[in-house]
Symmetry: C2
Subunit: 366 residues, 2 copies
């Protein structure tokens, strides 16, 4: 961070689009309307002139436009290696990295309370299973939980991370902290892990911080189900062992403005409410809502369970105050191990589930 003072100036770099480099602006620009055609064209040029930074740069711009973010990032890296003083490809690398790496990684890392409860649970599990236990960390991120295991004497830790740029960074961090001999990073989606190749044996401890405030997310449960079926041993310790979505009914004009629309400038646009978000990310600092119910447990998932059934439930919510409900503000409670609960994850973004749509669905399906 930069210390500023009243006497100094602070300098900011601004870069405008278009971000593709040009030798000179063509008089009558022929734009590529088909991004894939552009990619094929630049790939062809890159074969003819493999170390041409202009070609590589434009190829990478096209790849980024086609949402092939990983390939684009690799391309801009090569441009930077060829032209270390060039500002534009560095700017593009930052943009792409931001697209690839979810922004909540860093606030989560800075959450001391969360880190401490994870470490307590990890230490206890290693004391129980012994230091030579095969430990698997799914969604390793920076590698923090794996390093905690190594510090607690575990010698056989696999940190599985699917995003290449995050996995590389974890590898560097683990090396900088002198733990590369105990922790190996595997850059794969966990459902592609192979015992005997990526891990020596079935894991005796599985730790995973992939839970988000969206407990209902399909891929989270798929990941745990796959781990149960293929990656962990009988009697393995799973951290966390359970997670619950907690919520309360709220009144809020601010949130209502995000969820409902009626008459605007004299026109009836209420039809647009059907397109409203069914979940809205709201930051922990967003407090302009008033509770209309006590906390209720919306759902609990037992992660020690090998499979999870489909589930549709109606939940009765006791109402504790008069008001106009706009939805439910939701957060999470994770149960890491016996006696180690983490009641609320403050850096997780609570979500508002619009009520109207649910009511409409219920009205029709009852």
């Amino acid at each position: 961070r930069s210390r500023t003072s009243g006497e100094n100036l602070f300098v900011v770099l601004l870069i405008s689009a278009p971000l593709s480099q040009k030798l000179e602006p063509p008089a009558n620009p022929a734009r590529f309307r088909d991004t894939n055609a552009a990619i094929r064209c630049f790939e062809f040029a890159a074969k003819a002139s493999p170390d041409n930074p202009l070609v590589l740069n434009n190829l990478s711009v096209a790849l980024a436009q086609a949402d092939r973010n990983g390939d684009a990032l690799a391309g801009f890296r090569r441009v930077v290696s060829l032209q270390p003083d060039s500002v534009m490809p560095r700017h593009q690398m930052r943009r792409l990295t931001s697209r690839i790496v979810p922004f909540w990684h860093i606030p989560m890392l800075n959450d001391v309370r969360r880190n401490d409860v994870f470490e307590a649970a990890i230490k206890r599990a290693i004391a129980e299973h012994g230091p030579s236990v095969q430990m698997l960390d799914i969604g390793a991120g920076s590698g923090l939980l794996s390093m905690m295991a190594a510090r607690a004497d575990a010698t056989n830790v696999v940190a599985c991370e699917v995003v290449p740029v995050i996995a590389e960074t974890a590898e560097r961090i683990i090396e900088q902290n002198g733990l590369s001999n105990r922790v190996s990073v595997v850059n794969k989606v966990s459902t592609n892990l192979v015992i005997g190749r990526d891990m020596q044996e079935l894991a005796g401890i599985l730790v995973s911080e992939i839970l988000s405030s969206d407990l209902l997310a399909e891929n989270v449960l798929d990941t745990f189900e796959d781990a149960h079926a293929r990656l962990i041993s009988e009697g393995a310790t799973i951290i966390p062992r359970a997670a619950s979505a907690i919520g309360c009914l709220v009144e809020s004009d601010v949130l209502g403005n995000y969820a409902f629309v009626g008459t605007v400038s004299g026109f009836d646009v209420s039809e647009f409410t059907r397109l409203a978000a069914n979940r809205l990310p709201i930051h922990g600092t967003m407090t302009e809502w008033r509770r209309l119910s006590p906390d209720i447990e919306l759902q609990t998932i037992d992660l020690t369970c090998p499979r999870h059934a489909e589930d549709i439930r109606l939940i009765d919510v006791p109402v504790s105050a008069d008001g106009t409900a706009v939805g439910i503000v939701q957060w999470m409670r994770i149960d890491l191990a016996e006696g180690i609960e983490f009641p609320i994850i403050p850096t997780t973004i609570p979500m508002v589930v619009g009520c109207r749509s649910c009511i409409r669905i219920l009205g029709r399906s009852r």
Copy 2:
């Protein structure tokens, strides 16, 4: 909205993953690890049994997993038409709609001040050009601005909207408000509009609300450049005619926690700061920052200009208070017409641009 009272219960619908319907759970489930293979398989089944809701449902689940959201939405709609009482495909439709339709549409519609200044500028332009002017609304959304033009007597309005489900909704809204004879919705990206087919003639008025707080977004400038080159007449009125990004240097522990990481639980993970978001969406209600500089104009874009050059600038920011800067909070000012300025768009999400990375880049490129 639902009126609640202390005596009543409020009912919430919860649905757990997995969301694919199953006849019965297979004992040893063979999961599709390749989504495209799953799509091909279900497409094959759908050909053999075109009205089978189970096949259509599973095809749509696979399409959604492959991020083919529009196709998936169409599929779930067919499932609902075949099984009107089924809750799951309705839930999936809501999820997909939320993915497809940006959440800021509704708060923007509810922003009375913004609507009023747009209407003032539109009315003035129509008074100037006459009611038979060809008017083009790019990124029409709900169709609000097009309906304002029709109410101001314009008879020849094209509302161009790229997202199919939004375009359909706009069409319904325009019909419900009795303006279908004056406004026609074209479901295309504006760069594919064809004069003589989608519009009668070159537009004399172009209105567009596609500006976000990210003035630097490539596709926004591309859209305006394409409109200048192909879609508007000499002397056309462009609303807004200019836009500026305004910002100030801020101190904030909360935002700092999102942008920087150093030592965590005794491990040096500062390397992860390189993966920090370079822009962070912060809601207008998020006020836990302290200003360290006056407002500065970061960038102004003249939208009446047919082309925009590449631009890298250094901006000197006068510092008005001592503190530790974490970045710049940014918002927008739009200039709709002579005397009609909209100083701040409150529902736009201001962004924080991390400073450290800029400084690092500057240090190397100076």
